[in-house]
């Protein structure tokens, strides 16, 4: 506090100052209304009025309230600085100055929408006291404070409720703000459940530097929304991890849907939100059937009815077509990227990127199928919907679009499988699916997976030999269990040689019933591919010979050895174990005995060490044959010329006899 005066000489200044202070101290109570009590002498009269801008206003100051406010102990003139040193003053005093103490807040406010409007002379613009009050400002923590969280919606709503001059006359993009908020999960929490830590208007919009969402500095600007929401919803990315790659949210918020795309501002509910940027806005243009892209003339018509029947019925346009800018006249003019399904279907997207399809796509290959190729676009349907292109029964036709012989993928493919689609259709799986309508049967995706298709040579592939038993085992679990205990399983046999898996015997796509004749006869070749020598000897025996004639009733490989449960002979559960072999023979030869089981089912007469009896019998018999034919052959060959001679002799004799007879008859 200092005194006003004009002294020129420094010496005098000190003296005058000294006296002034003395006099001030002496007369202050009587000379100036500088104490609060001085002001209150008049202003505690609750009928006291004054004028401002020609309007009569109450200038009553409630001392009680003032003394219990946060400004208790602050002198009136600290805020009403223009009244300092005056006694009785005129009307139209200046407004109290907050910025003398709250200068940082004032700076923010000045830049805010409210501040700019205020300085621009907008009569609807709020000043400090509109929100905070004047003499009765109480701590925010006090629930009675005008700016206590619980009161905020009402406070803001004074101006921003529907029908208010601000809503009507100013450019406020949102409507029904207060109603929506009060029905939102935040509003409900605050207003119905008294949860004062929930988000109020200022939690999102801030208290003082309220800016338009189009302003990049705004707390509700698209790129800042995630941070704003995350102030409370700190680890929300974890919750959304399955649908979104959380890290991207903050780094590249522009390519992902922002919180508000799903959880609309003001309306946020703990449900899935059916409108982000209002679909209706998009449909204003896109419901027109003749709408076309200016670039390439393709139709941009969106069949909204179809969309509503789709899996994405609860997903709004902008959730997929992110990058929209709701503030633009054409919100879509900011879209530069195509729809990225992985924003939501992150895990599926990762699988796809690993797959051959995804790798081709990464190389921008024109043949590479993208999500929409299989799933469609707006009309995407779930796999349980029979109309869906990915409904099991429709999958073969879907894959066939590219994989049928002559189509792009089939042309590109250089492997050994041919006529994949045809073979599948005729296979047990294909018949089950297409003829019997058995939707649980294996389709293309059943074995190859839906999104991570890889060539069988890739160790990650579901059809890699190492993974085939478990792939088939998805359905044929019992067989998988048997197989994985058998000698053909890599889990049992450690070898450098390639062990057979399901498809080595059953084939990949032609798979036929194991009890059909074609399969039974073929299986001997299948086993013979690896067990060549033993398969050949099988064909030297009765079983093999009959099988070769095309009959399936005699014993095939698997009748004795088992099919999936092939065990080493010394294993007590092996069908060929000493204890079990007679039983195995008895399956066909009901009277089989132990000696009968001693029959060599793989006998060959070419092995003198293993089968000396057979070897020597065979060569004994062969010797007999050769000997007999050589002797008889020589005899015959020697006979032939003489026999010709004898034929002529006989003819001659005959004619002589005939002549004789003729002569006798003549005589």
């Amino acid at each position: 506090m200092y005194l006003k005066g004009s002294f020129s000489e420094p010496k005098k200044i000190f003296i005058i100052n000294f006296f002034s202070i003395f006099l001030f101290l002496l007369f202050t109570s009587s000379l100036y209304p500088q104490d609060n009590s001085d002001c209150l002498m008049c202003h505690e009269d609750n009928s006291l009025t004054g004028t401002r801008n020609g309007k009569t206003i109450s200038v009553f100051v409630n001392e009680k309230k003032l003394s219990s406010s946060v400004h208790e102990g602050v002198n009136c003139i600290s805020c009403h600085v223009d009244l300092e040193g005056t006694d009785v003053h005129d009307d139209d005093v200046e407004k109290a100055k907050c910025n003398l103490c709250h200068d940082d807040i004032q700076a923010k406010f000045d830049k805010s929408l409210h501040g700019k409007a205020l300085s621009g002379g907008d009569k609807l613009a709020p000043a400090c006291q509109n929100c905070h009050g004047s003499h009765d400002i109480i701590p925010v923590k006090n629930l009675k404070s005008k700016v206590a969280p619980i009161n905020i919606p009402g406070l803001c709503g004074q101006c921003h409720k529907e029908g208010s001059p601000v809503q009507l006359q100013r450019n406020i993009p949102q409507t029904h703000i207060l109603e929506n908020y009060s029905e939102s999960i935040h509003g409900e929490g605050l207003l119905k459940k008294g949860l004062i830590v929930t988000a109020t208007c200022v939690s999102c919009h801030t208290a003082h530097d309220i800016l338009s969402h189009t302003d990049s500095k705004s707390s509700i600007a698209r790129k800042n929304i995630a941070n704003t929401c995350a102030k409370c919803h700190a680890e929300i990315e974890l919750v959304h991890r399955k649908v979104i790659k959380g890290a991207l949210w903050e780094k590249e918020a522009n390519i992902l849907p922002a919180c508000v795309d799903c959880h609309q501002p003001h309306k946020a509910r703990k449900v899935f939100y059916d409108q982000g940027m209002a679909d209706q806005d998009c449909l204003d243009c896109h419901s027109r059937k003749n709408i076309k892209a200016s670039v390439d003339g393709r139709s941009l018509f969106v069949d909204y009815a179809g969309l509503k029947d789709s899996r994405h019925t609860n997903i709004s346009c902008s959730q997929c077509h992110s990058q929209v800018s709701p503030s633009h006249i054409r919100p879509c003019d900011s879209i530069v990227q195509k729809v990225d399904c992985t924003s939501c279907h992150a895990e599926v997207g990762e699988e796809y990127q690993l797959s051959t399809h995804g790798k081709l796509k990464a190389k921008n290959d024109l043949n590479a199928p993208v999500c929409s190729e299989c799933h469609g676009t707006h009309d995407v349907l779930g796999k349980t919907n029979p109309l869906s292109s990915i409904f099991p029964i429709n999958i073969p036709a879907l894959c066939a679009k590219c994989h049928r012989e002559g189509e792009s993928a089939a042309v590109r493919y250089k492997g050994t499988e041919v006529d994949i689609v045809k073979n599948y259709t005729e296979s047990i799986h294909g018949k089950g699916l297409m003829k019997s309508g058995l939707t649980v049967t294996a389709t293309c995706t059943g074995c190859h997976t839906a999104h991570r298709e890889l060539p069988h040579s890739d160790s990650l592939s579901s059809v890699n030999p190492a993974n085939i038993p478990s792939t088939c085992g998805n359905c044929h679990h019992g067989i998988q269990e048997q197989f994985e205990k058998s000698i053909h399983s890599t889990k049992i046999t450690q070898t450098d040689k390639e062990l057979p898996t399901c498809e080595d015997c059953h084939t990949a796509h032609k798979i036929i019933r194991a009890d059909s004749e074609g399969f039974k006869l073929k299986i001997m070749d299948q086993c013979g591919r690896c067990h060549q020598a033993i398969a050949e000897t099988y064909f030297d025996t009765y079983h093999g010979k009959v099988s070769q004639l095309g009959y399936t009733k005699t014993a095939k490989c698997y009748d004795c050895h088992g099919a999936h449960d092939i065990m080493p002979v010394e294993n007590p559960v092996s069908h060929l174990n000493r204890k079990n072999i007679v039983e195995t023979c008895k399956k066909c030869h009901t009277n089989a005995n132990k000696q009968f089981a001693g029959y060599f089912t793989h006998a060959t007469h070419h092995d003198p060490e293993k089968y000396p009896w057979l070897f020597w019998t065979f060569w004994g018999m062969t010797g007999l044959l050769i000997f007999t034919f050589v002797i008889a052959g020589i005899h015959t060959l020697l006979w032939l010329p003489r026999s010709l001679q004898w034929r002529r002799e006989l003819k001659r004799q005959k004619s002589i006899n005939t002549d004789k007879n003729d002569n006798q008859e003549q005589l």
């Binding site: 050949e536 064909f539 025996t541 009765y542 093999g544 010979k545 009959v546 070769q548 004639l549 095309g550 009959y551 009733k553 005699t554 030869h589 009901t590 009277n591 089989a592 005995n593 000696q595 009968f596 089981a597 001693g598 029959y599 060599f600 006998a603 007469h605 089968y611 009896w613 057979l614 019998t617 065979f618 018999m621 062969t622 007999l624 044959l625 007999t628 034919f629 008889a632 052959g633 005899h635 015959t636 020697l638 006979w639 032939l640 010329p641 003489r642 026999s643 010709l644 004898w646 034929r647 006989l650 004799q653 005959k654 006899n657 007879n661």
Partner: protein
Amino acid sequence: MIHEKSEGLSDNTSSPKIAERAEAQVQRFSRLNRVLHISMIISFISLALTGMTLKFSYTGWAFFLSGLFGGFESAGYIHRFAAVIMFIVFITHIIDLVRIKRKEKKSFKEFIFGFDSMLFNRNDWKDFIGSVKWFIGLGKRPEYGRWTYWEKFDYFAVFWGIFIIGSTGLTLWFPEFLTQFVPGWVINVATIIHSDEALLATGFIFTVHFFNTHLRPEKFPMDIVIFSGRVSIEEFKLDRPKEYNEMVEKGELEKYLVEPYPPIVIRTIKIFGWTALTIGFSIIIWIIYAMIFAYR
């Protein structure tokens, strides 16, 4: 052992005039023996066809034939049925021999070494040497008698075959029963013997026997005497001079003279003969093909 011919005498009219008639024929085989031979042909060809499908199962022919027989099961039934016929033929012949011996009241000596015996004797050896000499141009055609040595060889080949193939065949027919007495590998050995002996039998019958009796130029294309049982005196005289002379010496020629069969019978016989020959040769071609081109 005797291959007798007297059975056919019943249809001999014993008219003395017959001898003078040019078309008069000599009865060489009894009706029973002819029936037995026809039965054996049918049985043998059936056995060969069904058996070879199994032996050469890796050839397309086998696959085709197996289908023709109605599958391996019915082919098996045909094979075993034909085998039973073969056994019956064999047993009937043995019984017939015993019956003849009793009827003619011959001693074993007469029976074994007599005129009609199928057993080899010194004369066969002489005939054989004579034949070889004739073949290589060192002599005249021997005067063959009732049975030539190659006919006796064929006869005993059948005897041998019946024993070898028959016994192994029964082993394969009843393996579950037989393995109660013998080890399992005997079945494997029986398979080899059965199959190779069958190969020998079919190979021999359809080449050597066919040549010896039908295809050698003086009989070509076919000698139907085994079906008709009779041959013209003229041909008989030239082919079997010794037998003819013996008959004339004994004055028994008239006893064996019969009327020839009417042409319809001869034609039927020839159709049957041709059929058997064709099947036989087909089997030989098939065997040769299988052995050379498809053997494994």
